[in-house]
Amino acid sequence: MIQFVLMFSRQGKLRMQKWYGAASQKEKKKVTRELITLILARKTKMSNFLEWKDMKIVYKRYASLYFAFAVGNDDNELMALELIHRYVELLDKYFGSVCELDIIFNFDKAYYILDELLLGGEVQESSKKAVLRAVTSHDILEEHGEAGRAALEDIGVL
């Protein structure tokens, strides 16, 4: 199970955090600070895995952003690594070559996309098409209201 997801910049600024278990605000802050420092200190030649407390942190850097998933000790590290990749692909497709600014200004969308990919700490939908279909149908609905709903019903999304 994925315990939490962090996204942060090379400068150590937290851009996104998602927790799948209960934790107090104070704990969250402590954990994030500690992990960001640890990960930024790692060299490029090192593995993408970090054993931390009773978890494994699987992380990867894409351009200026770091993505880190905390998974259980028995979880498959490579699949978590590829899940990060899938998420980046989704952001990329949705925003059209995503950059850090897109995520800052549209943080709500970044959360919605993550929710369609991951739910309760487990993979919900690994198909890129299916996730994008779900997210864009929200957008159509938002933009066109009732007319959008009719259009979505026509193409069978609703």
Binding site: M1, L14, M16, Q17, Y20, A22, K29, R42, K43, K45, M46, S47, N48, F49, L50, E51, K53, D54, G72, N73, D74, N76, E77, L78, M79, L81, E82, L83, R86, Y94, F95, G96, I104, F105, N106, F107, D108, K109, Y111, Y112, D115, L119, G120, G121, E122, V123, Q124, E125, S126, S127, A130, A134, S137, H138, D139, L141, E142, E143, G145, L158
Partner: protein
């Protein structure tokens, strides 16, 4: 595409980003907060759009790390908006900013309930997302039934089903008692056959959680999962959307392989076992070009997911541990990965090797990679990888390799990451003791360990060193000499001072004849360290002073002089002051017998179980491992069994885990076949003893529960039953008080009636809570069939015996077993043991005097079972032959097995 609405929001974010300093940012934030507060306070009311915008700003500020103390009500109002995007924003607020204790949760739950019953699929989805994000017991009690219905209802669309499965999973994790999913089990398993891969993946996650809590209930999903796996891996019949870099549904494949690890090998039907092997073979064979790195035109994603499946398949065969060929093949493959170009692969290969090392069939194959692993330990630049290598070395170590392995681990210790040092020290200490051949080597290793890694040496480690030295006479003079030399270094670590102080106090006399380590010099060395150490060490050194003074009269006056200084007699530390005063009086006492008696050499420690393993376990499981797979558990158990060191003390009654722990009393149990009274179970806080007596087919047991801890044990309940044959015994256990206060012993009476013969001892299940942790003890009671044997009323002579013997005849009424004696055969002792087993011997029947002939009757309510036994020991070969003939076939078998397991 993202919409460019909420221009105010973009401006605001841009402003924040443009802030030159923390103060400027804070100023901007405060301005915005004041603005939003004013808007929300405005009686005229806001449009939905405005509310959404402000709520979004609040979330943004919160995520930046600022406190947001208002606006919650407005956000919750958005949940019932008719506009999708407003509702969505309301739910985002709830997921990010509210937790289950929040006052507004009731309102949120109401909104969730409304949306769950909505006809609009998107609203249902939002509500399910929110449940998965927030979880919580209260949510569970309100919505679990609704979610369950959505999960299994035929009319639910696939998008809803997969979300419902994961919402269910979150609720189950946090409030399993609220999730009454048992009645839906077959329908949940059925979802694995859905044509929609999204639904199957989510269901597999849900089933993994459900089945790890209750494997028996979900056994039937094994065949379905294997079938699905087979279709993906072999037939590659997968929806196109789910093919990830040419690999069909890798996430699902790995999930299914993990699910299977919760269950034993599917022996039946045979197509299942065949399919599962085939799938594993395919997973192992898809990753050939490893050593030269990957061809550039193939994407790394392709390799990663293939390898993910491969490693998971290896976990599965390690879990089954029944196919030597596959396991050895896996180990060979892993050897290639150890020299892979990518650090990730080397890390994972080491991780898999440490799993493989704990299996029966591949343990040897792992050893072949010893030198590669040592190389990894030495040369890897990533501490995470080095730590894995150390783990593998620990797992593959044996008595042949121990010197090399311990040496490498000691070298590694110097530059290992601080976070792993304590664990490493424990592992070295365990290995050195477990595989020791030469105790002076052990002493060298341990002293080296303590000197080098002093700060990371847990007290248990040096306690253990002292225990071993005290118990091994042959190494004591060497230990004393080495410790003395180590103490000559003024900068030595305090742990070393402790060991040295103790060892010189006990065994300093063994090296006193050497002028270099004369008593005076020993005292000097200890005094040199005294000022630098902590109070507890000082206390230990004080005892060393007085022990030395006892052994060497020539330094007694000097010691007295030292102890009498005001530093000691008026020391602020009460313990030190008391010791000093007592020791001064002891040394000055006129009675010459007292001092040597008090300061006599320590007796050997009762073959104390090492506490090091326990320490290692607690170190590993500092935090609950809720999702631990069977393989992981098996790994740990396997280790324990392999060591033969499952000490009962290691099962502390106060487990680190918060869930209920079940503890058995097997290590205490074996002796009870031959005795009636003793300790049934014991750990540092709880002792359970038993006294029993038997007459005919009746038995009476008194069980004593002693609370040795400092907190009360509450909720104490007991239940007694006979596994496998509930009617064989009728057991009446009297109720017992629900609370055992600290330091108190309670008694419980248990009456047993033997209705018919039985093979398994009855189990007394004791549930209790100690310091908030629930513990269940499953204690075998000392009631075996032999307890109900009584002697014949009249003695038999030889002709009568042989007449009876022949009447009963050979198999199946006869059971004959020949065993190698567990301890050297002494005829008198053998005789006593047979008698205490319950069968009185009869002399002068067998022509050979050493052979024993016995007869007795097993009393049960249903029948009286005549039982004859002949015991023929062979002292030269150290073998014993037992022949049992009883009037009931099954009874012969049971009696024979009881005998065999106790001689």
């Amino acid at each position: 595409m993202g919409k460019e609405d909420m221009r105010g929001l973009s401006h605001f974010i841009a402003d924040i980003r443009a802030s030159k300093s923390k103060e400027a940012e804070l100023k901007r934030i405060n301005k915005e907060l004041a603005n939003i507060r004013a808007k929300f306070g405005d009686k005229k009311g806001l449009t939905g759009y405005q509310k959404k915008k402000y709520v979004c700003k609040l979330i943004f500020m919160f995520l930046l790390g600022h406190e947001v103390e208002f606006g919650h009500m407005e956000a919750v109002n958005l949940l019932s908006s008719l506009h999708y995007s407003e509702k969505q924003m309301g739910y985002l607020f709830a997921s990010v900013m509210l937790n289950e204790q929040h006052d507004l949760m009731r309102l949120v739950i109401q909104a969730i309930k409304t949306d769950l019953s909505s006809r609009n699929e998107l609203n249902v989805s939002l509500a399910l997302h929110c449940i998965s994000n927030i979880g919580g017991k209260e949510t569970a009690s309100e919505v679990a039934t609704l979610v369950q219905r959505l999960l299994v209802a035929d009319e639910s669309p696939n998008t809803v089903k997969k979300k419902a499965a994961l919402a269910m999973l979150r609720l189950f994790r946090e409030a399993p008692e609220q999730v009454a999913i048992a009645e839906y089990t077959p329908r949940v398993i059925q979802l694995l056959t859905s044509p929609d891969t999204g639904v199957v993946t989510s269901t597999a996650s849900l089933l993994t959680a459900l089945a790890s809590a209750n494997p028996d209930e979900y056994r039937s999903c094994v065949a379905v999962a294997i079938n699905k796996l087979h279709r993906i891996v072999l037939a590659r019949s997968e929806q196109e959307d789910y093919i990830y870099y040419s690999v069909p549904a890798p996430w699902l494949t790995v999930k299914l392989l993990r699910l299977l690890q919760l269950f034993p090998f599917p022996g039946q039907p045979t197509c299942c076992s065949r399919h599962v092997y085939v799938c594993v073979c395919v997973c192992l064979s898809v990753c050939l070009p490893v050593c030269d790195g990957r061809p550039t035109r193939v994407r790394i994603q392709y390799f990663n997911v293939n390898h993910a499946c491969m490693f998971e398949a290896m976990n599965l065969i390690a879990h089954y541990d029944n196919n030597a060929d596959l396991q050895i093949k896996a180990c060979t493959l892993l050897g290639d990965f150890l020299i892979h170009k990518e650090t990730n692969m080397r890390f994972l290969a080491l991780e898999s090797l440490s799993v493989m090392a704990t299996t029966e069939y591949s343990h040897e194959a792992v050893k072949r990679h010893k030198s590669s692993v040592i190389r990894a330990l030495k040369h890897e630049s990533d501490p995470t990888v080095q730590r894995r290598a150390a783990d593998v070395l620990y797992a593959l170590c044996d008595s042949e390799a121990v010197e090399r392995v311990v040496d490498e681990l000691l070298n590694f210790l110097d530059h290992a990451d601080y976070s792993v040092r304590e664990e490493l020290v424990l592992k070295i200490a365990i290995l050195a003791e477990r595989f020791v051949k030469d105790y002076s080597w052990y002493v060298d290793v341990m002293l080296r360990l303590i000197r080098r890694a002093g700060d990371h040496v847990a007290p248990e480690v040096w306690y253990r060193v002292i225990q071993v030295i005290v118990n091994r006479q042959d190494v004591q003079d060497y230990a004393a000499k080495t410790c003395f030399e180590a103490l000559l270094d003024p900068a030595v670590h305090e742990a070393m001072v402790n060991v040295g102080g103790y060892v010189l106090g006990e065994f300093g006399h063994l090296i006193a004849n050497d002028p270099n380590s004369s008593p005076v010099k020993q005292l000097e060395v200890i005094q040199m360290h005294y000022p630098m150490v902590s109070a507890s060490t000082r206390a230990l050194l004080l005892s060393t002073y007085v022990k030395l003074a006892n052994l060497f009269p020539e330094i007694k006056s000097h010691v007295l002089q030292v102890l009498k200084t005001s530093h000691f007699l008026k020391n602020a530390d009460a313990e030190l002051q008391q010791r000093a005063n007592e020791y001064v009086h002891l040394l000055q006492t006129s009675n010459t017998d007292v001092v040597p008696a008090v300061l006599e050499e320590m007796p050997p420690f009762s073959d104390a179980q090492t506490t090091l393993l326990q320490r290692l376990e607690t170190k590993r499981t500092t935090v609950t491992e809720k999702t631990g797979t069977l393989a992981a558990r098996k790994r740990q158990e396997g280790k324990k069994i392999e060591l033969g060191e499952v000490s009962a003390a290691a099962h502390s009654a106060v487990p680190a885990k918060s869930e209920t722990t079940v503890i058995n009393n097997d290590p205490f149990f074996d002796k009870f076949t031959l005795v009636n009274d003793g300790v049934l179970y014991e750990n540092p806080v709880l002792q359970i003893g038993v006294k029993s007596e038997f007459h005919g087919n009746l038995g009476r047991l008194t069980v004593f529960y002693g609370n040795r801890g400092d907190a009360p044990m509450t909720g104490v309940t007991t239940r007694a039953f006979v596994p496998n044959a509930p009617d064989a015994l009728s057991i009446d256990a009297r109720p017992i008080d629900a609370t055992i206060p600290p330091g108190v012993q309670l008694q419980q009476q248990i009456n047993v009636e033997c209705v018919t013969y039985f093979s398994d001892a009855p189990v007394l299940e004791v549930s209790l809570k100690y310091q908030g942790r629930a513990v269940v003890l499953a204690l075998k009671l000392p009631v075996m069939l032999n307890k109900f044997i009584e002697p014949l009323t009249a003695p038999m002579d030889a002709p009568t015996f042989f007449k009876k013997w022949n009447q009963l005849g050979g198999p199946p009424r006869e059971v004959r077993q020949i065993i190698k004696a567990k301890e050297p055969i002494v005829l008198d002792q053998l005789h006593e043991k047979v008698v205490s087993f319950g069968l009185p011997t009869m002399p002068d029947i067998d022509p050979k005097p050493q052979n024993l002939v016995c007869a007795g009757i097993i009393h049960t309510t249903n029948a009286q079972i005549g039982t004859l036994l002949r015991v023929e020991p062979n002292v030269e070969a150290q073998m014993i032959r037992f022949t049992v003939r009883a009037s009931v076939d099954a009874a012969s078998v049971i009696v024979s097995n009881l005998l065999v397991s106790n001689f």
